[in-house]
Symmetry: C2
Subunit: 291 residues, 2 copies
């Protein structure tokens, strides 16, 4: 699996660099383009891009065809991180081991860089040579990235502090913040290959399983990490600002949920005759079950 994922990642890095080349000397808009590139080309696991390419291949397309979609989804993911890091949101100074975009370019330019990347995402997706598929993929990206998807999840997160947080709220928040873009990636891969409704539905179940398992595992590592920092792990008493699956259910039940969502993802792949195990392994690696 690793070689194939690596080949996907390398192709994505090249395509991103091509989609947003360095500004020419003296260009008046150079700074915003540099700020966009600073964050977009900072590496990362490119999970969403890999999923788009892999689903294109799984549905009978050539994975390279889905590169405009893979790039578009990474741009949306990247803009959301830039805006999330701003002082009025999470106020994070660091991202991927480097100063956050606004720490280098200032808040106003980082805001514009995010806006520019979100806009460029649609331009890139719409660069797909077949207009029907381009329109369908861009529409999926807009629906899942917007107020009923990712932006909606961030809104729930913002307001969670002052609210009674139960399982319903947590599930809807993670459906927006984590599942939505993963679902967009898988769906856009299917669209690139001209997949049918049954394949799209299976791709969504896979995305939901992987996304939720990934998120809950993140919550577990988060709480365990905090507990380790405190020198002890005391389960429900672990010091933690925010409610999450572990503080609500306990670590063991949360781990059971990870397993069950991972199973949902793997089982969803059953309908694809061409499945060669890549997406199964990818799901297991993302959710901490890599052998």
């Amino acid at each position: 699996m690793n070689e194939r994922a690596q080949a996907y990642r390398e192709a994505v890095e090249l395509a991103l660099e091509e989609a947003l080349p360095a500004p020419k000397e003296g260009e008046l808009t150079a700074t915003v383009v540099e700020a966009m590139r600073y964050s977009l080309l900072a590496g990362g696991k490119r999970v969403r891009a890999v999923l788009a390419l892999a689903f294109c291949k799984l549905c009978g397309g050539h994975w390279r065809e889905a590169l405009p979609f893979a790039c578009g989804i990474e741009m949306v993911h990247c803009y959301s991180l830039i805006h999330d890091d701003l002082p009025c949101m999470d106020d994070d100074d660091m991202r991927r081991g480097r100063p956050a975009c606004h720490r280098v370019y200032g808040e106003a330019m980082a805001l514009l860089a995010g806006d520019g990347l979100l806009t460029k995402a649609f331009e890139t997706v719409l660069g797909f040579p077949e207009p029907e598929k381009a329109a369908a993929a861009a529409k999926a990206l807009a629906e899942l990235g917007g107020h009923r998807g990712m932006v909606g999840g961030q809104c729930i997160d913002l307001e969670a502090d002052g609210r009674e947080v139960g399982m319903d709220l947590l599930r809807e928040m993670d459906a927006g913040k984590t599942v939505a873009l993963i679902a967009a990636a898988c769906r856009m891969g299917c669209i690139a290959a001209g997949a049918g409704e049954a394949q799209m539905a299976a791709a969504f179940r896979y995305a939901q399983g992987v996304g939720m398992a990934f998120q809950i595992r993140d919550d577990i590592l988060d709480v365990l990490g905090d507990a380790e920092k405190l020198g002890k792990y005391t389960g429900m008493d672990a010091a933690h600002e925010k409610r999450n699956y572990v503080t609500l259910l306990g670590a063991e039940a949360a781990q059971d949920l990870v397993e069950s969502y991972t199973r949902q993802a793997v089982e969803a792949l059953g309908i694809f005759p061409e499945d060669n195990g890549f997406l199964t392994e990818f799901a297991l690696s993302l959710t901490g079950r890599e052998s």
Copy 2:
């Protein structure tokens, strides 16, 4: 002209309300949707929407067909105002006579509302029933709204304070900040009607003429307004923080430019056999020449 513009505006208000209905009771993402609606449905002249509808009709389509495009362009315009008003940008407390979005909903929610509107813009444009036209219009919106268009113009504006501002910089800044979205509106109207390249090119010349004339006139009113506040108008000595056409060229030469750009707009309409004067009058009204 006024009745027709009014009919267009009313149809746009209805279509915007339909595209982004009020959240249902208890919806967890209600706040971001309310923030989006607060700014989007605050009225305004809907100049860009009217241009999209009018160019659709001018190119032989029915103007109502272009409503998804008209709504999308208003959403992009609206998101840019929300983000512009944020403390890290222009730090404006008021917009259209009401508190700015972030003064009502807070900075973080206003940021998300802007992101949500930009995303919703593409979803709305891509709701156009013919996928080829939908994709072409969304691509035009992305190209003209992004770092080579509107976002680029905002970047130039941000950096203008510390720079030697000459005519070239001013022209490129206004091409991004003002002309780009107006050009997108005219182009998308043409696309809705299935117009050809010659019509698209004429629509761009019209948009450029109207956009530049509108911007320079705004500069003139701005400087005259400041001078009136000071009780006198002293031409190049008028107190004004920012360089603009008046401070660079003087009021008379700036007014000559308004005339010449307005003429460019009106002359560009010459190739349309079905022109009935609406867009000529609209150009004159926008640039202060309304009879």
